[in-house]
Amino acid sequence: MKRFMGIINLGENESKIKEITYNRPIASVPIGGRYRVIDFILSNMVNAGIQNVAIFTQGKNRSLMGHLGSAKPWDLNRKYEGLFVINPVLEPEDTIIRKGDIESFKNNIDYIQGSKQEYVLLTKSYMLYNIDFKKAFNYHIDSSSDITLIYKRVDNKDNRFIGCDNLTIDEFNNLKSIGYNMGNDEFSNISLETYILRKDLLIDIIKDSVSKGDSKYLKQAIYNRMDKLKIDTFSFNGYLACINSIENYYNTSMDLLDEKKYKDLFYENGLIYTKIKDEPSTKYTSTSNISNSIVANGCVIEGRVENSIIARGVTVKKGAVIKNSILMQKSLVNENAYLENIILDKKVVVSEGKILSGNHNKPFVIKKNTFL
């Protein structure tokens, strides 16, 4: 699908996931023991053959830039296209920060225009799924619609998609309206916020919206024009998660302990690529006791680990117990410590015998680099 370019818009709402987004955007939140959130959408794109991806950031991107590096793991270290990270431009004479993302799209419209692809896959990073985008592309090309919007019909009973865009769709799959998912209905059509459209149309929308000043946000600019556009929808049926709150982050992580979901997210339509760390094998000793967990490379496990996600380079010393917890990379849990319902951010050190226990519905988050 060399006719498509990808645009990932990182203007994402962090208000309910602040505990792990102090120093990073949602896109670079560590997840699944070795990934960052953005790895999933990036891998989906490259697995569909997209070779030109632009990421529009909102600043605060050192962790993201460090993760993406030269984009080699995604095979996007290409000579002329590949990956391009676009930061908001701030003129030294500016005295106020402009809100919204449409300004940044406008400032970089020549980059979009100059790309040789005809179509754009416009999306965000905070939805996790493993999709074959080629099918959606073909659906769009065969249809006569202006925009194809991808969604999944979800069960609202576990409240995983509160605050997401909720689509009302007519019998011909066409979009009728978009609302805010309150979780009141039994089922909702949740938008993946993934739009397929002609590049020309995207450029028109940006220019028209900026000149009219009718929206600070690109998404709003599209919605404002809904009555003039034919918007079709494409249904996705695989595993879908949404990283917009700390609860969803925790529950999604725990989902991966279900082998079916693990395989669905990591293998179903292609592999998920991420930054390489050269970690050695994970070592289990004679005192280790492991059950129902996923463990990344480079760990040394001497204690007991149950129902947990253990990221690269974690050490769990003898006698320590980890239950229902998420340990981000390079955490160290010393002898006889006890952790239950805890999220340790990167490089946390838990001292000997320390007991930490969170609530199952509201896990307790320990900040990066904390020593406790």
Binding site: F266, S281, K283, I294
Partner: protein, 372 residues
């Protein structure tokens, strides 16, 4: 060709079949045999080069090089993809006079004199691609310079009862070598050659050219070049190496060296100071189900464990089915062991699938090797 002077470049002998590894090397060169869960044997020599700031490495290949070439590529995993120098794969080739295979270790270097001269080095480091160890070749070079040596050979103390398996260096008090004893019955010394040499390049070159003219020579460093140099009273010194070193030339030593990694041993793969690099698999963290048990073992990316793993080394992508047991074994990449099987004291090679209910290997017996 970029011609830029380098003080020392390395030539890595990786052409050998390793016929004592039997079915393990039926279709790949010995240096490409998987080792220690994450690695191939050659990774150790390549990582040592990179960690020693030696960024120009010629790799001499001959036997089944496809996988080895694919593994090395241009050396990115070892940071050896350099603008000047980097890693070069050097297969035998055809000249105006016809093609010549490499006849012996010395001949392989002789055939690549042109390559070496491009870098105009003062010193040549000659390495084997089939040893497991960590070594700073810069320290070896410092020693070589201090001694004012023509040749420095790295040696290791071996138990006296094993001296008959090695090439033994008989040395004076100042570590100058006066005699080379190949597999002596009654050894005078227990310093065995590790197959690691630093040569004064100009001197070596003239010996290589001389040796090539001698039709009766087997063109080997140990058998021909070193004895001739000793005979000519060149200054040969032994450098006594103290760390872990293992020649994994037999099924037994390969199995032993894998088991060494589970025990506490001086080859610390977890230190950040001297990392061993390899090509990294694209796989999620490993998954251990509720029923899975792991003790005293090494696990890697993409493994799925429903059974019981004890005292074993598992490469990436290994599947262990329910009620299966893997004990004292080495399992190479992407092996699938179905349910209800028992594997003991075995090496299972890459991509093999073991049927349900299989029983492989026995305690207190020879190592069983299963290959495709």
């Amino acid at each position: 060709m970029i011609k830029r002077k380098k003080e020392m470049i390395a030539m890595l002998l990786a052409g050998g079949q390793g016929s004592r590894l039997k079915s393990l090397t039926k279709r790949l060169a010995k240096p490409a045999v998987p080792f220690g869960g994450k690695y191939r044997i050659i990774d150790f020599a390549l990582s040592n080069c990179s960690n020693s700031d030696i960024y120009t490495v010629g790799v001499l290949t001959q036997y089944h090089p496809l996988l080895l070439n694919n593994h090395i590529g241009i050396g990115s995993p070892w940071d050896l993809d350099r603008r000047d120098g980097g890693v070069s794969i050097l297969p035998p080739f055809v000249r105006e006079e016809g093609g010549r295979w490499y006849k012996g270790t010395a001949n392989a270097i002789y055939e690549n004199i042109e390559f070496i001269e491009n870098y105009n080095p003062e010193y040549l480091l000659v390495l084997s691609g089939d040893h497991i160890y960590k070594m700073d070749y810069q320290e070896l070079l410092e020693y070589h310079k201090e001694k004012g040596a023509d040749v420095t050979i790295s040696v290791i103390e071996v138990p006296w009862e094993e001296t008959n398996r090695f090439g033994i260096m008989n040395t004076n008090d100042d570590f100058s070598i006066y005699e080379f004893d190949e597999k002596p019955k009654n050894a005078k010394n227990n310093l065995a050659s590790m197959g690691i040499y630093i040569f004064d390049w100009k001197k070596l070159k003239s010996y290589l050219i001389e040796d090539e003219k001698d039709k009766s020579s087997s063109n080997d460093f140990g058998k021909n070049i070193i004895p001739k140099m000793l005979n000519d009273n060149l200054k040969l010194y032994a450098y006594s190496f103290k760390g872990y070193w293992k020649d994994v030339g037999t099924i037994n030593s390969l199995w032993e060296a894998n088991m060494d990694l589970i025990r506490d041993n001086p080859l610390d793969l977890y230190s950040k100071e001297w990392k061993i690099y390899s090509k990294n698999p694209i796989s999620p963290p490993h998954y251990i189900s509720k029923e899975g048990k792991v003790k005293n073992s090494l696990l890697n990316e993409g493994c799925i464990i429903h059974g019981d793993v004890k005292n074993s080394v598992l490469s990436p992508g290994v599947y262990i089915g329910e009620n299966s047991k893997v004990i004292d074994s080495v399992i190479m990449p992407n092996v699938k062991i179905k349910d209800h099987s028992i594997i003991k004291r075995a090496i299972i090679t890459s991509d093999v699938s073991i049927d349900s209910g299989s029983i492989i290997g026995k305690e207190n017996s020879e190592i069983t090797v299963i290959s495709e």
